[in-house]
């Protein structure tokens, strides 16, 4: 029996990945260019015994999936920039209360309602710092449908492993274009299930008391244990605390559990980096144009390479530093006004050799746009 091959939009690849990972509760408010995710899940979830709810807005959507996750469901919502803005408060709550959930932001042009049907990658820093207060976050992305599927599964796995919201930062081009998707067989990709407490009924359960390995087992809310969940700084019982030791300990824990693992959380792809003297760094759909020009230049013997980042946050600085160590120039290719550039400059040894190839007019960046920047760097003029 051959594998199931589909010809689908990126949004459908995300839906297939979520179902593969075990999604069984979705609440959302449809918005272009993410609408197909809600549309398809409204068809596919109920027959599998899952729940689909169309909410009154994005604030309610994220709150609904946070509640459902606490009861033991694997949850997701999908939106675009304007809805993602509305979700920031509840996102902080999920960070603080350590609730596994997956939030898809299919980026379109912003700010505000912006250009709904056109592409952008302007939410990179919103994903990192959209919610207030010191915190860490995991954000993943992908440039093709096979990777959209894999990264969606990964998002569920990481959210369960580290009890954290994970953001999938896709964009209009990948979300709407159609290409081949080969569905992995069950068991082919690793899926992480909810770590449940071994504390028996009638015995006190401490929701924020870590095991020896640092992980926090969960108890389905409304089940056999009574416990408190709050957005306030809390102790191991989940009750509010202003004790400096507790406050310090919680904040350090929330940041360290992710930032200290930046290296192991880094997902990325390398193309022709072995001997590259110009390294392109890109992510999401932009990486397709970058790879197009890398392959074209390689055929002409030019030493161009691509580092495609799939983990955007925590920023994989070590990966960037080591991959760019021998490069004469580093070009960040993205569809915003250079949101990743400062992070790359911080990571590399020669920040003066970091350049930006971008496009911010709602038009998908072309290989020619990148070519023009390369000509300037190479001193050949446009």
């Amino acid at each position: 029996m051959g594998k199931t091959v589909k010809f689908v939009q990126g949004n459908e690849a995300c839906v297939e990945g979520a179902l593969y990972a075990g999604l069984n509760f979705y609440a959302g408010y449809p918005i272009t260019p993410s609408t197909e995710i809600a549309e398809l899940l409204s068809l596919k979830l109920p027959p599998r015994g899952g729940k689909f709810i169309q909410m009154e807005d994005e604030i309610a959507s994220l709150c609904a999936i946070i509640g459902a996750s606490l009861t033991g469901c694997k949850v997701m919502t999908a939106t675009s920039g304007p809805g993602f803005s509305l979700m920031q408060e509840a996102l902080g709550y999920a960070v603080m209360a350590e609730i596994p959930c997956v939030i898809v932001d299919v980026q379109r042009g912003g700010p505000s309602t912006g250009i709904p049907t056109h592409v952008s990658q302007g939410d990179l820093n919103q994903a990192r710092w959209g919610t207030h207060g010191d915190h860490a976050i995991i954000t993943l992305t992908a440039s093709n449908h096979q990777d959209v599927f894999a990264m969606t599964v990964e998002a569920f796995n990481l959210s369960e492993t580290y009890r954290t919201p994970v953001i999938l930062l896709f964009d209009e081009v990948v979300a709407h274009m159609r290409e081949k998707l080969i569905l992995p067989e069950p068991g082919e990709l690793h899926t992480v299930e909810r770590l449940k407490t071994s504390v028996k009924e009638g015995v006190d359960y401490h929701p924020y008391l870590p095991r020896e390995d640092g992980r926090l087992p969960m108890s389905d809310f409304g089940g056999v244990h009574r416990y408190n969940v709050t957005g306030l700084v809390h102790d191991m019982w989940g009750f509010p605390s202003t004790e400096p030791r507790v406050v310090h300990g919680l904040l350090r824990h929330l940041v360290d559990k992710i930032e200290n693992r930046a290296h192991e959380l880094a997902r990325f792809k390398e193309f022709h980096l072995e001997d590259a003297d110009i390294v392109l760094i890109s992510y999401g759909s932009s990486a397709r144009s970058a790879l197009h020009i890398v392959e074209e230049r390689r055929r002409r013997g030019e030493r161009l390479g691509l580092l495609e980042l799939q983990t955007l946050w925590p920023f994989p600085g070590d990966v960037v530093r080591t991959r760019c160590a021998r490069a004469r120039a580093v070009v960040v290719v993205e569809m915003n006004m250079g949101q990743m550039v400062p992070w790359v400059k911080l990571a590399v040894e020669r920040p003066d050799r970091v350049f930006l190839a971008n496009r911010i007019d709602g038009v998908f960046i072309t290989p020619a746009d990148i070519h023009n920047i390369l000509r300037i760097i190479q001193g050949r003029g446009v």
């Binding site: 010809f7 049907t117 159609r178 290409e179 081949k180 144009s289 197009h292």
Partner: protein, 181 residues
Amino acid sequence: MERCRLVFSGSGGQGVITAAIILAEAAVLHEGLNAVQSQSYGAEARGGATRSDVIIADTPIYYPKVLQPNVLVCLTQEAYNKFSSIIRPGGLLITDSRYVKIQRKVDALQRELPLYRSVMEAIGRPIVFNICMLGALVALTDLVRPESILKVLESRVPPDFLEMNRRALEIGMELGKNARV
């Protein structure tokens, strides 16, 4: 195979995007090729100039849009006026003779076909206009086998409409064959 870049253009509601999806899906699912299909979205559901890009190749496709199509299909005057200049030199331009009046010479093979008229005369339903166009395109280019298009139609079209689509495909192929050089 030579990488083929196609642009389908017309007016919203003509089925231009559906035709592009059917062709690309046939290439991927039934010919073992790679294909990428994308479309430019306006705010409107009907009317306006619609465009869908398809790339078909036996090698990986990275940049998914089409800048200079080898094959350009224009089903309205507005689409023709807007897109005819982007065709790749030596390419193929397919237009519908009822909707499009060719106004300038482009460096391409031009085929004005009575697609709409033939569909209306033989079937009387404009909804299969796009499938007729696809038939002509397949006959003119040999990009995919007609059986592959039929397989996709069988999986996408309600049974009651399948025969109508099959006939439209045949009519298109006949027009395409006769227009080959």
